[in-house]
Every structure is written in structure tokens, then in C-alpha cells.
Amino acid sequence: MAADNTAGAGLVAPGAGVIHDIGYQTYDGPRFGRGQIALALCWHSLRSAFGFGRGAKAKIVPVITFVIMCAPAVINAVVMALSKSHARVIDYDTYVGNLRVLVLLAFMAAQAPELVSRDLRSRVLPLYFARPIRREDYPLAKYAAFTLACLAMIDIPVLLLYVGTILQVHSGAAVWAQTRAAILGLLVGLMWAAVLAAVGLALACVSGRRAFSTGSVAIFLFLTWTLTNVLTKISEAGQRGGGGQITAGDQATSAAAHLFGLISPFTVLDGVRQWLGGTSQGIVADPGHYGFAYGLMLLVLLGGSLAVLVRRYAGASVA
């Protein structure tokens, strides 16, 4: 810091004379380096993902989607309290999967552009790149911020569900069982957030036009989600026609049905959860032997999206 103080005093020299006292104050304090600047950018982006630091309008979508995400957990707590029941209505690890895929989709479609498209549209990027952070720091800070934002959307409801449940269970063993299940649920939430944030930002950064950006995220996620559901239903119906009743998770689920689950990032995530040992019934049939394909698809989605995101900014012009 001492060195920076002298750097401030050194201002006299470039002017080759005296600084007249007209009120310009030099800054003699500490200066943060690249790492802390990237952190500051991450924090700023996280705030903007929920509309903080913007007008009231920017907060509408995040608040509504967050409330809807939390509603089942709150309802669960109320129901459990009123009925004095000890059984949760919802599972921790499939909270998002079963109930709120479309709500999360809406959040991502609305807020991913908030993080990346605005800067592209207003051409503010050169100002960032003319500052200490490097090219790759910008997309990675945005990715970290959006992962945290998605994590908040996914895991805060899970925590609420946990708290609501814990209040109604009294034996130590039951609390431990709930805690263990909740931790696994939170980890599944982290996986969802990490993958979906990358996919969402990679889709959003294609355009500086917010509408295109939102459309790109919404259409991709919704189409793949619908496609997976429709194709799965069709293949199930086909099997039903040829034989007995097929239920999701049934060993008899056809290979095709498993592959259809690879189309949507949401079902890929749920497939990986089950492949890794998750037992509760989710939004896709247990992939069984196809688990590795789901795992591979997840890595491709994550890696590919991050690569797209970083490359998007590698060539961004400054001057």
C-alpha cells in the first residue's frame, strides 16, 4: 500500500508541473488485482440476476419465479404442521425435477440475458477488457454468478423443505435421515445449477438483443423438454400397445425411451442423478445401463457450453 501511495504522488510528474488546486483528488488507496476484480464482477452479476441495482421492473420475474419455486416447500411445511404428519410430501433430490422445471426455465430465459446480453448490446465489453481482468475472466465470472443464482433458486426451496420437515420430526434418527437426504438434495441442486447456468449463458450470449437471447434459451430448453416428453410418451404407448402396462423406471423401458431422455438437459440431469444412486422417482426413467450415456451427455453439455461461452468473448474487440 505504501508503494501505491507514492504512485499517487507520482501524478505530479506526468503533468510536468504543479497540480493546481481545483479539486481533483487522486486516489492513493489500495488497488485490487485481477482476482478480486473478477470477484467483484461476479457479485455485481449475481445481484443483477435478481434485479438488484436495477429498477423495480427488473425484479418482477426473479421474485415471481422464486416465490413459485418456494411455494411447494412452504405448502409442505404447512401441511405437515397441520396434519401432524411425519412424512414429507416431496423429495429433496427431485424437488426441482418434478415440480418446477418450467419455472426454472422461465427464470433462466429471463435472467441469463440480463447477465450477458446487456453488456453485448450496450457494447460495454471494451470497457471491461481495457481493465485488468483478462478475456476469460469475464465469462467465467458471469458463469459463477449465474450458477450461484440458479443455486439460490433451486437450493433455497430445498432448505425450506428441510426446515419445514425437521420441525415436525422428533427422533434423532429421523432428523439424521432427513439431514442426509437434504444434503444429497442440495448436491443435486448444485449439479443442476452448474450445468444449467452454463447452458443458459451459452444460449443467451448468442445475441445482444434481449428478445433473441431470451428466445434462444426458452426455445431450446422448452423444445428439448417437450421433445423428450412427447417421444417418451409415444414409445411408452407403443410398448403398452404390444404388451402390459409400462411404468417409468420399469426394467422394460425401451432403449429408445432411454435415449430420448438425452435430448433435454433437464432429463439428462435427472438421469445422472439416478445413475449416481438417486432412488426417488424423477422426471425420467431410471437410465439403468444407459447411465454412462447420461453422464457423458452431462459432461458434453457442461464442457461444450463453457467452451462456447469463453470463445464468445475471446475475439471481442476493444478498440
Partner: protein, 325 residues
Amino acid sequence: MTQDPPAGSDADAPVIATNGLTRRFGPTITALDNLTMAVGPGITGLVGANGAGKSTLIKILLGLLPPTSGAASVLGLDTAARGERIRALTGYMPEHDCLPPDVTATEFVTHMGRMSGVPPTAAKERAAESLRHVGLYEERYRQIGTYSTGMKQRVKLAQALAGDPRLLLLDEPTNGLDPAGRTAMLDLISRIGGDFGISVVVSSHLLGEIEQICDHLIAIDAGRLLRSATMSSFTKVSQVLAIEVEEGADLLAAELAARELAPVQHGRELLVLITGDATFDVVRDAVAGLGLPLTRMEQRRHRVEELFRDPGEPAGRLTGAIDGR
């Protein structure tokens, strides 16, 4: 937290120095060609047509692009090795629009100060300071989208000042401004370069503007240094006499040639070298002898535009010959 020796504290050290700086893109495109120059403290004008290499130079100076060969230093720091530190100490104002419309000027400039490495509280203070200096103190809580072009230009300048730079790189800061806005912006730059003691490099294609505020002028063309000199040497009286006649320019040209003045036609004007007081008499006699209506006869000043004149053009050759003396 960066602990560094003070940058630019040596009064003699150039703010920017390049040595044989060359940058090629592929085998055919040479953006900068063996550029060697030094920029001292104060306000320096950087002139060059589009494609002259200004953008490439700015990128190299900010350490964002490695030179193909040669070296450059900014504030005494090598651009190849110390880009991060240079970018912390340099404020950059791009030519194009770069402002988000839906945030207030205060928020934006504060954020940009933070991005320059200033801690949160100090960044807020500096944002208020910077906006005050550019004359936006009253309006600083308004969203940028509601600002006029001139006010937006001021915000762009304020964000460059937010990190308390030792050097400002301003790319066409008067672009899109009306005459009053231009004057105000030039005054501001002049104050920053003079009173604030921040070295400024300002690029412009409007040479008349640069003339007003710069101490030093650097002209680059096709990646090469065309000229680097103090402002006064650019605008001193030249040894060229411009003669304009209503009609009969050809006759006069022939007459002057016969009197060994070797005139050069440039537009409506005939240019001759002044070799002494006698030159004026010779021209007067020639015009009078032919009975031509003389409109104008004046000793030309060097104009910065002459820097860019195609050397193949007659007047350019004449100017070149005079410069060579």
C-alpha cells in the same frame, strides 16, 4: 493488491514509448510497421485515417495484443509483461457507444471504478468525483438512457477517470457532438491534461480540434510513423506562397515557370516556393504583366492536413521539398 514501484514518476520518462513496433496479421496485413515513437506528458494528439493502425496500437498499448516484433512501454511498464498493471493505471474511452441505458450514471461509473480495482467505498467516492469533474453532478442519479449525446460522452469520460488513471486514451471523444458540445469536451480534456496532471492521448480525425488542445502531435499512416512533433512546429508559417487568380491560371503558371519559380497547380491555387522577398515581387510583376484579376496571394501556414497528403500529389511533393529544407 498490487505492490508496484510508482509508475511514471520519472519526469523525463516518456508516458508511452514504442521501439520498432510491428504487428502483422497473417502474411499480408501489416497493421503497424516498425513504429518507433515517444509520447511525453501532457496532451498528445494521435491522428491517422481509418485503418492507419490506431486500434492495433491501442490494443498493444493496453497489453491486449502482443506485437509481432519490437516492444512498447506505457508508464514505464512493458506492455507484453505488465498489461494488467498498465490497464489498472490507464483510462480508456472508446469511440463508439458503450453505455447501458438502464442504469444511473453513478451506478455505472462506480461499477467501472471497481473494475479498475478500486475498493467499493472508494469507488463510490471516485464516481461522484469523476461525474462532478465532467459536469454531471446534478444529473448523476438519472438513468443513462435519458441523457443527451453530449452527456453520454461525459459519462464515457467519467468512467475512464473512475480508476484515477495516470494516462487516458481517448478515442474520438468529440464524435457526434454539436459545436458547443465539442468545445465543452475539448475544454474538459484540456483541463484534465493540464490541471489534473493526467497524461492524455487523444485521437481524432478532425485536425482542427486537435490543434486547439494538443501539446504534441503524432501522425501515423498505414502503420508507419508519419510525423511526431510539437504542435507549434506543425502550424508555423511555411515557405509556400499561394496565388489565386480569377482566370488565366494557365497563363500565369507558364509565366511563373518562365521566371523560374516552378509553380504547382493545386485546385484553384498556384503554389510557389518563397526563396526570398524577391519572390513576392516576381509574382506581382507576373500577374500585373498578364493583366490577370488577382483574387488572393498569401503565405501559407503549415496545416496538419498536409501530413496526410499523398506524396504523389504535386502539392505534397512541394510540401515535402519544403519540409526537407
